[in-house]
Structure formats: C-alpha cells, structure tokens
C-alpha cells in the first residue's frame, strides 16, 4: 500500500473537491455574466455612413418618430426613411453642409444609404412593430431613449427573457396611445401604471401571449 502513493496524497480528495467547487463556481459566474446578450450586445454603436443625431431631431426639434419611421403603425417593420424625405427640410436647412453630401447624392440617385442595422432579433423570431405600437407599447421599451442619443446604440438586451418579461406582464408596460412616441413620458406612479395597464389590457383586448407560436412559427 504505502509504497505506491506518498503520504500527501491523502489530502488529494479534499484538494480536488475544493478545486472543483471553486472552479465550478468560477465557470458558472463567468458564463452567467459574460455569455449573455446583455454583455455582448448592449452598447453596440456602429459608425453610420451619415452622422445623423436623433438627439437634435427628436429631442431638440421635437420631431415625432413617425415623421421618418412612418410605416411603424401599419407594418411589421419600422422603416428607415429614404433620403428624399430628409430633403424635405434639408433642401432649405443646411443645404450646402458637407456632412449631408451623401444624403443629397442618394436623394438624387435614388440609391439607399447603407445604414448599419443595430437592433436585430434572430430570423426565427417574428416581431411585428405595428401590433405593439398600436396596443400601447412605446418605442422606448425596446429601443431606450433614442431621443437622447447623438449616435444610436442598443439599449436593451433584446433576448428572449427581455421579450417574456413584458409578455408575462403586459400591464406593467402599456401606456396611453398618444404617448407611444413620447419617449420621456413616465407614469404618475407605479400604482397608476398598474391600474391603467390593467384597463388598457381589458379595453384593447391585450393578452399575455406566451405560446411558442406567438413569436416562432
């Protein structure tokens, strides 16, 4: 017996158990924090071809989201406006500004500007913008305070937990329909939100849809 293993190996089981516990905790904690959309995607802010500032347009000038994203109430997607729409104002305002050269050029040619998409859900998720904004869900719920962003970045994780938080409890998030694009709007209190949310759910027949086929077909 004794000549096979030295005496210190008696401590080996304890060392292995301790190591496995510590290592296992470390790996779990690491995966928990780093391997998430929250860590990987929130804050994603790619450089766009034109330095368009939502802060100036939506906040300072008070333009409504739907002036540019005008299909959001009718369509499953929220459209990016064509350059000719920009020219409605910019043929008067800053009409020679070099920063807008690409906008003028694409408005002429009819070619789209290659904006970089930020908010993405996987192909097997069927998200419909119109159904959400027409039932009291504000842009800000998923996109954050775009009206305060000079450059747009992803504000929310947009993972399935994020979707389900609202789908499991829509009353906590619904707001009056005229406040959908008011990204600064706040409910008076948590109680009033709960009461109003419950009323909106009843009036607009909002259901807490959690079937797989709600989002996946």
């Amino acid at each position: 017996m004794s000549d096979i293993f030295p005496k210190w190996t008696n401590r080996l089981p304890l060392m292995i158990i301790t190591g496995a516990l510590l290592g296992g905790t470390g790996v779990t904690a690491g995966v928990w924090y780093y391997c998430t959309n929250k860590y990987a995607n929130v804050g994603y802010m790619p450089v766009q071809p034109v330095a368009f500032s939502h802060a100036i347009h939506a906040d300072q000038l008070g333009m409504d989201c739907r002036y540019c994203h005008n299909a959001v109430e009718k369509s499953w997607y929220s459209n990016i406006p064509t350059s000719s729409l920009c020219m409605n104002c910019h043929n008067q305002v800053l009409k020679d500004d070099p920063k807008l050269a690409l906008v003028r050029e694409t408005a002429q040619s009819g070619q789209p500007i290659h904006w970089v998409q930020i908010h993405k859900v996987p192909d097997y998720v069927f998200f419909n913008h119109s159904v959400h904004v027409n039932r009291g869900l504000s842009c800000v719920e998923c996109h954050g305070q775009i009206n305060k962003m000079d450059e747009v970045s992803q504000a929310k994780s947009l993972n399935m937990t994020f979707c389900l938080e609202c789908h499991r409890d829509p009353a906590a998030h619904l707001r009056p329909l005229d406040k959908i694009t008011d990204l600064d709007w706040q409910p008076k209190s948590a109680e009033s939100q709960r009461a109003d949310g419950a009323k909106f759910m009843h009036d607009w027949k909002v259901e807490s849809l959690q079937n797989c086929s709600t989002c996946h077909r």
Partner: protein
Amino acid sequence: MADVIANVEVKAPPAGLEREPLVLNQRSLGWISDAIAGVAEGKTPRWWWIAFIPSVIAMTVMTVMIVYLLSTGVGVWGPGHPVMWGWAIINFVWWIGIGHAGTLISAILFLLRQRWRTSINRAAEAMTIFAVMCAGIFPLIHIGRIWLGWWLFPLPNQNSIWPQFRSPLMWDVFAVSTYFTVSLLFWYMGLIPDLAVMRDRAKTKIRKFAYGLFSLGWTGSNRHWSNYEKAYLILAGLSTPLVLSVHSIVSMDFSVSQLPGWHTTIFPPYFVAGAVFSGFGMVLSLLIPLRTILKLEDIITVRHVELMCKVVLATGSIVGYAYAMEFFIAWYSGNPYERYAFINRAMGPYAWGYWVMIGCNVIVPQCFWFKSIRSNMLIVFILSIFVNIGMWFERFVIVVISLHRDFLPANWGYFKPTWVDITTYMGTFGLFFTLFLLFIRFMPIIAITEVKGVTPQADPHHPLGGAKPGGHH
C-alpha cells in the same frame, strides 16, 4: 478454539436438501482469485485482439456516421412523414432494455438473497453501463443540433424557459441519467475490494498506480468491510426502484400519446418485463462464450446458465401474455381504430416484422421449459441471440407499425431505413464491444470477493473455513 472445531463433525444434510455448490470442483479461495484476476493479467491473448480490432473499426464507423449526421442534418436518416420516429428511438429503447439485467441482478437479486448472482453480477453491471451509453447516444444525436442538448436539462437560461415537465421525453432524461449514475456508482463501489486484489497482485509500476488509484486505499480492514456492506445495501435499495422506473418511463414516451398501438395502460409493466427479458438474453450471449474462452466454467456454472434461462422463460412468457392482452383489449374496447391498428400489425404490410417478434419473443423462450435445452450451452447461446433479435423487432413493431398508417389513408406510408441508420446502429455494437473487451482485459470480470463469500469454506463453521494456518487465501 481451533482444536474444538477440529473435533466437530459436520453432518451432511439429507440428500433431498443438499444444494449444488455455486463453485464447482471444491475450488479453493486462492484458485478463485487466480482464475478471475488472471484474466486481466499476463499477455493479451490472441482472441482478444481478434475481437477488439473489428470492434474499434465498427466504433469508428459509428463516429463517422454521427459526424455525417450532425454536419448534414437528420434527413440522412429514414424517418419522414408519416413515420417520424425511426431507428433512433428503436435502438435507444433496445439498448436501455438490455441494461436492465445488470441492475436486476445486482440489486433485486441481492435483496432477495439469491447467492448465485455473485458469479454474474459484475459482468452484467458492466454490460448495463455500456448498454446505457450506447442507448444515450441516440436521443442526443437525434436532435440534430447537439450543441443545444443542454436544453434538455432545467438550467437557468437567457430564454427564461424551462423544459416541458409534462412531457414523458423530459422524464426520460431524468430517468436515464439517474439510472446511469446509480448503476455506475454501484458497479464501481462493488469493484473497489477487487481492484485492491488486482493492486496487490500487480507487478508493474503502472498497474500498481492505476489499480492503487481506483481502489481508493482499500485495506480490507473490518471497518472498511462494514462500511462497504452498508453502502452496498443502500445502493441496492436505491437501484431496485430504478429497475422498474426507467423502462416504465421509457414506455410512457409511447403510452402517454394518443396513438392506437401506443396508448395502452399495459405498457409500463410490459416494457419492464421485456427489458429484463432482453437483458438476460444479452447476459447469456456474452457469458456463455466467455466462460469457455476464459476457462471459468467452475464459477459460471451450467446451473447459473439454467437459472438465467428460467428468468428468460418467465419474462418471455409475461411479454407473450402482454402481446395477447393488447389484442384482447383492442377487440374488447370496441374502438375501430384500435382494432384496425392491431389487425394491421399482424396482417398488414409489416406482418413479417410482427411474426419475427412473436417467433423470437414468445416461441423461442418456451424451449427453456426443458432441462436438456437449458443445459446445452450452444443451444442456449443461439436462442439468446434470437431473444435479442426479437426484442429489437418488438420496438420496431411498436414504433414503425403504429405510425405508418395514420387515420387518413392519404397519410399512409412505408418506412425504410437508410444506410446511415443501419451503419450507425451496427456501429453501436462496436462501441459496446470495445468497452466490454477493455473491461475484460483490465478489470476483474467476476466479483472475486463475493464469489468467495458463497463458497462453503467461507463459513467459519465449515471444516475448511475460518482463520487457521493454510486455510486462508
């Protein structure tokens, strides 16, 4: 004391009450150690290589097939409308069923004080573990995207969803993984004293180290033995319900659905009986050649084989009763769909599969009523292979025949496996035999200490027993 015992005469029991000894030819304890441990010592015999090389090749083929499946998609297999479950589930249930003999022998027969189990329990437990490994491959790879296999377990995740606990497929995950864990622990714990024997006999440094490591410092002290016996009893108690639960839950994969041919309450007991039946069939197929090749006829005796044949006969008859009862209920229920499903089973396009099953599972085991057949090793070996074939066909009958004719004739089809199905299944034999041959080569294939315990001289009151000079190992 010693001289007192020497003066005591041991009276032989009356002729009618005498039991056949479990170890023949009055072999000594030392002989038992040498015979069993010797299998895993010395030069590797030629027959071992002749069996091992094809096994490794078959296992490699299986690996290639799995890589092909995962890289291309599950479409390389045969299942398709209307037979959406094919060979993967058949093979899974078949292998899992085979695993049942090991636990039955090691747990239930232990609690029932069946001393003959000692000669076969180790190999049967090893067979169980390897069979469950072969079985486990199929549910894992059939999902196609194995990197999402962890979704089967209730782990917190970013999707905020849990597995569907109302699904019997979910219960399967728990049943099979529990079964594997407990079987492995039971097997390993039983091995510890024998690994210590191997360690003490080891000549080379590597063997000393390896057996020393896995025997966990076993010294054979009184305290070790008393802890060991307690742990063995506890594990036997834990394993006993598993013998019944695992295949019951596997049967619920089918019976919880509402398909005629699957939706029957008889399934759990019928599946358990079938599992024990196929498990003993496989134990016989493995041990009959081994006892001859390894010259262990004195330890795995004809009596052992006969007893196993009787288990096969009993469980085979239960299975036959279940087949008959399925037909009776189909008639008695008055449900036309149920009746059609069973008439189609026996007379439809897959009738050949049904009658292979009946032949192998119902008729073949009836031969074991006869002692002349039970004690003829060659015939028992051949019949045990039929048992294995029959049990594979039973799952084929249940899965494919029940699915191939839907309620609408427009949904009827005829299932054919692809070459990938066939080679993957054949390849699992490669995995099984590779592991089993490694087990034979490196581990004591019979529980040395337990066999010694059932010899007459293990009894301290026996003239040859007790601690005395020369009487000890």
